[in-house]
Point group: C2
Chain length 497, copies 2
Amino acid sequence: MLVLSITEANYFPKMKITTDEKDDFLYHQVAERLGQQIENNTLKAGDKLISLRALSREQGISLSTAYKAFIELENKGYVEARPKSGYFVRYKPARRLKKQTFPHFPSERAEIDVDEMIRQVYRTLSGDGMVRLSLAVPPVELIPVAKLNKALMEAVRNSPESCTNYDEIPGNLNLRKQIARYAFNWGGNVTADEIITTHGCMEAVAFCLKAVTEPGDTIAIESPVYFGIFNVIKILGLKVFEVPSDPQEGPDIDFLEKALDSVPIKACLFVTNFSNPTGALMPDNRKKQLVEMLAAREIPMIEDDIYGEMYFGKSRPKTCKSFDKKGLVMLCSSVSKTLAPGYRVGWCIPGKFWDKVISNKITQTVSSATPTHAAIGIFFETGRYDLHMRNLRKALHTQSLRYIQAVTEHFPPDTQISRPQGGYVLWIELNTKINAFELFEAAILQNVSIAPGQIFSTDARFTNYIRISFGAPFTTEIDAGLKRLGALIKSLEDLSE
Amino acid sequence: MLVLSITEANYFPKMKITTDEKDDFLYHQVAERLGQQIENNTLKAGDKLISLRALSREQGISLSTAYKAFIELENKGYVEARPKSGYFVRYKPARRLKKQTFPHFPSERAEIDVDEMIRQVYRTLSGDGMVRLSLAVPPVELIPVAKLNKALMEAVRNSPESCTNYDEIPGNLNLRKQIARYAFNWGGNVTADEIITTHGCMEAVAFCLKAVTEPGDTIAIESPVYFGIFNVIKILGLKVFEVPSDPQEGPDIDFLEKALDSVPIKACLFVTNFSNPTGALMPDNRKKQLVEMLAAREIPMIEDDIYGEMYFGKSRPKTCKSFDKKGLVMLCSSVSKTLAPGYRVGWCIPGKFWDKVISNKITQTVSSATPTHAAIGIFFETGRYDLHMRNLRKALHTQSLRYIQAVTEHFPPDTQISRPQGGYVLWIELNTKINAFELFEAAILQNVSIAPGQIFSTDARFTNYIRISFGAPFTTEIDAGLKRLGALIKSLEDLSE
């Protein structure tokens, strides 16, 4: 008998379907009562538990709360799930998990909300002399600005209307042709007609999400995740089912598969390559597995591949889109992380949802910024992007190692550092005594700007994590900044002794 | 005793709070039953009617349905509203309206939805030899492209990072300074710090709406209105209360004031100067009246002033923002209608909601397109915009007269044409036999592209209206196109004899 278990998952799933705080207590109460029934043999080993829906109905609780109660019982070893059959009382109850190595605890009470934290992090970007480790953007030192300017001039010169007018609705044709050409590198086989350009990757994600959901629908996302996604989700009126993400392999597919049987997930949204903030790279075989799992259920997936080109290994990782046979995967990307965030050039390949996405674009932004989109098309076409990316990947790989070395050197010995195989960022676990947002505030006073873990979840979890960007070439200033940060962490640890 | 009456309004208000089609019948049934009670003297002249909320509760209908029922009774002369007191049975019932002169009838059954109509209108834009009367954008002939290119080059040269990086979150500083300077022309007194730049005007409107509403809230908009607004509203999960708009003076303020007493309107969104599609210009005294009316109730207003600079008269019309003392008016605009839609340069002055709007910008688009925003800043600063606008206004005024003349000449004699005092578009009422979307489809086959009236309401009303842009300089091709269109209208009229 196949028994799926999430005891290996080593993290407590966070189900954020409503923002109702009471739910967090409710599921615990329900789990406790069911646990007592098992303890006192009212429910016996092998007994089938009440179904999720029935529990939800009878107790007047949401499906998500019911689900959380079952997960708690499972974590405590009371019950086990059998695929498509439901939950059963285990033969050996009372088995307990050992200490979680990748905790997802919410902060007890966030004094300021996540939005306000994000605002504060952004406000610190423009100070003079600030060592900016908080923002994951390509530093100007690594950008071939002269060549990019040249492409912009060419774009304006080549356009009969000097790029002043709206472009074609799907986007600049040459740019779309080039994106189609690059798709070959990740195993894609697409034409320009399948591509729609956008104002950066976030807009692409928003258009795709909107194409496959209605307000009130639930979508699955990874946790932790880039905070920009929360707001899009909020605007679209969506509910969120958070899938724990491992810093090495990304979202837990098995966990997701189990949830799909009981939670009405309408779409998935994952960053499959070098996710932000963990840097996780989903192995290609898991991508394939994920695509097939979703295809069997006709569930669309939005794949944010914004970091896909920034691999440190020998070849570009594939995408979920590479394995997509049904047009259910909607790939989104941009040049904001590799070349010029200021140009606001992004795109999506929305598969069978093309019509809906184009309709969203027409009615929301009408058109992308014509000059910059045409310029990136030329930059791609002339091979300048290939050359640039080769240099950028090499530089980032070297920088990642230098930053890791410095963090290892300057931070307390119990610090855990991610080992990204691409991208821009290190995800750093500090001693649980540290409150990352307090650390952020203290670091600003010492001219170091970091991204506190709290901003990567809706409810300020990851309180003892920070994200550090290694985008800027490593310098003595940065080394000094990391040293100050390390000293600060130590002193905060000492303070809380 | 002051009795507000909307019998002068001459149009039937459309209350689109839910998309529930049944509501349209429900309110009618409720009104009929109440009417019978008045007819058979169960309710006597002078009696106070049940309150809106009580009616809604007792009949299990929505507030909007209850409101519609009362309006129907009022239109039929059964009841009258007394401010803050409710509805009372009239002393002289059975007075009826004469024929509506500005009808707002919904189409009986739209065969395709408004979204699909919009898509089709946009798809016809790129055909060769097409006489494009459907899109309200500045034609390249009227754009000083060489000077604009120069500004773009200067922008890139002046930027230490060649405009590749994100700009300041509120937007390019020089651009914001220039927008503040121009505010003087409409009687505004704002500083750069109060301004936030956006990816065109539509994004500004979306940010502002989001800042002052929650999903489920009701906002007041004018009808007919630019279709782009519907989608933003839909995305934000808002409900809509449509205020009839007169082609001369714009939204009916008195109608709105009455509604404010009974409908929970959270915010208003109006195009006050040369609205699209009617071309209406709200007189300055009515702007003042509107601002004061909303201020007394602390209701925020989003003012879309995208056409404000395109006046044909001696001076620029004021804005509602000019009269705003409480920071409740959020002015939105862009250069998409005056200079370069492809540049995607817009902005808003969100008054007391600045913090919320900046937060929306941070989390949604992060930054505007840096090169184009910097370029427009330079274009403003160097006085090139002033010169351009003087020429553009003169050209558009002349064009408007030429187009009106041609339409008068070529269209059937019962055609009614708006007389805009600014902007880009003519709003044309055809014989009620004409279905504008059918006309659109037939006209495409004759290489003429128009905007059918249906796309300017959520439920495909304005079936016998079309919008024609006079943005393109008048030529013999355009004259011939209008002639073909006129002939087509005549033949469609004959067909339906």
